[in-house]
């Protein structure tokens, strides 16, 4: 069996498993997994830029927030129905990522991290500044009655779960397909050796530019989905912490692997969920995991599995 056939089977199998879990899990864990799949979509988007292209951004929360506020404000103030509002969210994320890509890609390495961090901070402060519309830190709730798509009530647990699965599955299959295509191979080339990729005649800037936009739009889709499914839009999601989270999930699951983002998000979510029952200092766990990963497992869980046992893992 060819590797691309094997990985397609793996991804479809994973989606089928998640589909089945939607009916088997008790309500509490079903709700958790719905949330995790939305966050994992965010991580999938982050992985396109960090895992495959090798660009470490510390400001992805601004794309997540762009999708979230794009959809949220369009529904809350504009009175749009969910699907047009979702498209507004995607357009906001696309526009923001194009501007950020145009400016930030002039820098590399550490400067790129700091520039993205600063842009995200600017976005966060801008949300606070326009508190009249965004309600700042407090945020706003999207009315339950408006969260319906073609008769499906997205506030019911099972519908919400399936909607999250559709968004996550789409993002997973699109990125997996993309990485097998020549476009994705060039991105990996940029990560491994930018100069050599340039020398081979590829337009590195254009590929990086596209990677930032794809990554930003997927992150924005996750933000819009989060707002739609859980009905809340707030500035917390634009803070530095929400830029660190996808980095943490991807590093933990395995940067540059297709299923790593989901694995990392599941582990981290339950680790934090469990420890916040014990102490209010639950971010301590995130800190310890980050340090341990940097020291001992730079490849992450799926990355280590691929290195040791299953070499074909996508």
């Amino acid at each position: 069996m060819s590797i691309s056939r094997k990985s397609l089977l793996l991804h479809l199998g994973l989606i089928a498993l998640l589909f089945a879990l939607g009916f088997l899990l008790p309500t509490y864990h079903q709700g958790n997994l719905a949330r995790i799949m939305v966050l994992a979509t965010y991580a999938v988007g982050y992985n396109v830029l960090f895992g495959y292209t090798g660009l470490l951004s510390l400001g992805h929360a601004m794309f997540f927030a762009a999708g979230m506020y794009g959809l949220g404000l369009a529904m809350h103030l504009g009175g749009l129905s969910p699907i047009p509002a979702f498209i507004v969210g995607l357009l906001c994320a696309a526009l923001l990522s194009a501007v950020v890509a145009f400016l930030a890609l002039r820098t590399i390495g550490v400067a790129f991290m700091i520039v993205t961090l600063m842009f995200a901070q600017t976005a966060f402060l801008t949300i606070l500044y326009f508190g009249t519309y965004t309600r700042g830190d407090e945020g706003f709730v999207i009315a339950q009655a408006t969260r319906q798509i073609m008769g499906f009530d997205l506030t019911s647990p099972t519908n919400r779960y399936m909607a999250a699965l559709i968004v996550f599955g789409t993002a997973l299959l699109i990125t997996a397909r993309m990485m097998q295509a020549s476009f994705g191979q060039v991105l990996i080339g940029v990560r491994e050796n930018e100069e050599r990729t340039t020398m081979l005649g590829y337009d590195v800037f254009r590929h990086k530019f596209a990677a930032v936009i794809i990554s930003g739009v997927i992150s924005g889709a996750a933000g819009a989905t989060y707002a739609l499914l859980f009905g809340y839009v707030g500035a917390t999601f634009a803070t530095v912490q929400y830029s660190i989270f996808p980095l943490l999930w991807v590093l933990l699951g395995g940067a540059g692997t297709t299923i790593g983002p989901l694995v990392g998000a599941i582990f981290m979510f339950y680790l934090i969920d469990y420890s916040s029952g014990l102490t209010n200092a639950y971010m301590l766990i995130a800190g310890v995991v980050l340090v341990l990963l940097t020291l001992f497992a730079r490849a992450g869980i799926v990355g280590e599995i691929r290195k040791r046992w299953v070499a074909w893992l996508p």
Partner: protein, 308 residues
């Protein structure tokens, strides 16, 4: 108050902020200059300094000056020792790889911050100033009766704030003397210029790195002890000085000490002055965006000459 006295007051308040910021940013700049790594946990060493100062001041009985003096010595030492540990246990293990260091120090940031939350608690607490006499300042004006000197209501500064400005200036001068006139300064500058050649000349580069990282954290902690009688010690207080120090180091040119001090004065003063006249959120938006653009279009900083 009239515009003139109001502006003078804003400048004085700005000078206090600038003095503390200069020390904090100097620590970040020293670490970046010598070790070529960005320490994202720098703001947390500032926080550790403030929190330790509170514990020390709380434990020492008698006049507040005793507690404060003890804190002035102990807090930078504690922060410095933690930093040396971080250097040995984390930074050295990843061989100072720039990206791994950033991710690792983000982890250290959360560990320090959350440990403070667990031990010190979530509420902000003040440290009593060793002395705090209110000094009214005179204002001169050409009035109807010719030249007159009077004391406008509200135009005053405390003796402690003046002390902060002078103490920070003294530390900066000592730092400059150490760097430019002593053997230790020479060793640090040699390591900064060329790590390999320094190693070949028998300089223990790995120990220099530990010490530099410790001094960087110690400077942040010292700045925090100075500010803690004016602001309060709080476990989330590290974010603001981190961001401002980043701004200063970037504007001043990554790794340039002289640029850092000039930029700290500029940013600290204008932060104090602007926030008196503009909405603080708007002024922060403008400042952050400008700094990002400086980094995009002039990565060597406004004063730096060599590429970052």
């Amino acid at each position: 108050m009239d515009f003139g006295p109001h502006l003078l007051l804003a400048i004085l308040e700005g000078a206090v902020g600038a003095a503390v910021l200069a020390l904090t940013a100097l620590g970040l700049s020293l670490v970046f200059g010598v070790m070529r790594v960005v320490n994202v946990a720098h703001g947390e060493f500032f926080m550790v300094g403030a929190v330790v100062a509170w514990f020390v001041a709380d434990a020492v009985a008698g006049h507040p000056a005793f507690g404060f003096t003890a804190a002035l010595i102990i807090a930078p030492l504690v922060a410095g020792l933690i930093a040396v540990l971080v250097d040995k246990l984390v930074l050295k293990q990843v061989e100072y790889d720039p990206e791994a260091t950033i991710v690792g120090t983000i982890g250290v940031l959360y560990i320090l911050q959350q440990t403070a939350l667990m031990t010190y608690g979530p509420e902000p607490r003040p440290v009593e100033a060793p002395f705090s006499t209110r000094i009214a300042l005179p204002w001169f004006e050409w009035g109807e009766n010719g030249f007159a000197m009077f004391y406008p209501w509200g135009l005053s500064i405390t003796s402690y704030k003046l002390f902060v400005i002078f103490a920070a200036a003294a530390v900066l001068v000592v730092f400059w003397l150490v760097m430019s006139r002593t053997r230790y300064g020479l060793i640090m500058r040699a390591t900064q210029l060329d790590r390999e050649t320094a190693l070949a000349f028998g300089i223990p580069v790995s120990r220099v790195y530990s010490i530099v990282f410790g001094i960087g954290a110690g400077l942040a902690a010292l700045a925090a002890v100075l500010i803690v009688p004016i602001q309060q010690a709080y476990y989330l207080m590290g974010a603001e000085p981190l961001l401002l120090s980043f701004i200063v180091v970037i504007i001043g040119g990554l790794g340039s000490v002289r640029g850092t001090v000039v930029a700290a004065l500029m940013i600290g003063m204008s932060d104090g002055i602007i926030s008196v006249f503009l909405s603080p959120t708007l002024s922060k938006i403008i400042a952050t965006l400008l700094v990002a653009l400086v980094l995009v279009f002039r990565p060597q900083g406004l004063f730096g000459t060599k590429a970052a």
